[in-house]
Symmetry: C2
Subunit: 317 residues, 2 copies
Amino acid sequence: MSPVYDRVALIGLGLIASSMAHAMRRWGLAGEIVGTARTAETRAIAREDGLCDRVTETAAEAVQGADLVVLCVPVGAMGAIAAEIGPHLAPGATVSDVGSVKRAVIDAVAPHLPDHVHFVPAHPLAGTEHSGPRAGFAELFKNRWCLIVPAEGSDIQAVARLRRLWEGMGANVDEMDADHHDLVLAVTSHTPHLIAYTMVGVADDLRRVTNSEVIKYSAAGFRDFTRIAASDPTMWRDVFLNNKDATLEILGRFTEELFALQRAIRTGDGDLLHAYFTRTRAIRRSIIEAGQDTSAPDFGRAATPAGETQPKQAARS
Amino acid sequence: MSPVYDRVALIGLGLIASSMAHAMRRWGLAGEIVGTARTAETRAIAREDGLCDRVTETAAEAVQGADLVVLCVPVGAMGAIAAEIGPHLAPGATVSDVGSVKRAVIDAVAPHLPDHVHFVPAHPLAGTEHSGPRAGFAELFKNRWCLIVPAEGSDIQAVARLRRLWEGMGANVDEMDADHHDLVLAVTSHTPHLIAYTMVGVADDLRRVTNSEVIKYSAAGFRDFTRIAASDPTMWRDVFLNNKDATLEILGRFTEELFALQRAIRTGDGDLLHAYFTRTRAIRRSIIEAGQDTSAPDFGRAATPAGETQPKQAARS
């Protein structure tokens, strides 16, 4: 199979970029994979693991001769990277990114790109709570959605080619405009993350319940929040600072609903609570039917994460 | 191995009771298991599946001659059940429950129990988003905590015997007083559930983002909330109505913190956000070290819940 791109440059080598490297290699999608990262430590790990065919010291060097450049850095760092690589981009190259926010990335990146390249922003809706160059794996994008957000006047063929790359890595691809993307993600990702961070912060900060109690008894629901709240702090700081309006809009709606439920608890309105909790069950069912989550109880989580294989012997009575 | 109890009566046959039946049978903890449920449908399923040794039509009948009676009904139904079984309890029997709230259960149940029985409330911190008599499995309690909340003057031997039963089913057991239990659970379970229900409700109700978008793109974080928000509506209505004070206290703290983070987003205070998001990571680590969750990315969730095993072929460029 011939590759979709001859040379792909990955700028930043965290969870998404390292997963792309594994996936492109496994399915023969790139002739050569060049990578670079801000820290010497990450570059050293990438070299040691053979993550890319070549690891360069700078982004300017990495993009030379690449027909696809993918910015895989936190949203707040995209503008500076674009300014650095702009003069070194090959004519006809496609520049893309994997940022969780699209309007702010387009505003930050586009002004630095020469006319002779195609800018096709994208966002794979995939990730785990782990980060860094060793967190990646080839199947991360399988059956997940990748949203391509063509900038105004994006070349149709460049968009189609990027779509083939993402489909080759197992993703389903949709196109969407930047503002709608940012609102959809505020609902499906950004606000849920902020809420999870907040709940975990509250638990951590209580005087009357100890941390060891919170940790021991977390299986009752709380631990699901801690997974989300373990995501990369820099990435998420940048998401909130760069998708401010949509996040604040959805947070406003969330607070309004929360107050309505809080009031129902205070006044003892069991019917309202029951009706609300019944309605939310249907969405879960739809997500499982759409293949976006497992129906196994508890996400199919192992019953004995600590490695026990036998229950304790029952004591005699 | 001799059983811990000669005859155990399970009142209500949902997820917890059916898991207890499987576990007690597998590990030989009960001489005989008798069960009953409110609806004829549940009783019929239990009979068809052979879930218990005997299924009775009424709770009064089920408790006759039992040396352990476990109330496994929603918290709001406990008082009525206690009134019904009170006159039929055998002298020396232990009455326990599995309710997620303890103060309200004690207040509702204790007045109906005769002096010749031991009342030892308990709460296994285990569950899944599934409910009903077919949702149970023997390993549900393995490596999970069960909190025993002895009522004032509980018999020490009765408490020790109930502890052996739960340990026999694989649980770790702690003792705690009722008010502290209700506060700890408000943090680790009740407030997180209310927040998850609210977030899912907001997403369901938005006009500008369609439900199909929410469902397709849920893997970005939202889907974890939907699992929690798929839990049994009746059980959760009763939890909030019966743990009102503690839940409202924690909700108040949550809202306060959420407003602080919201303000940081509005004013662009990236340092505050970054510091907050860094702090919450540590709790996740502790939960994994305590064996209360898996460290596998995404809870070890299968990458292809829809059953795909091969990625799409990469299109040729």
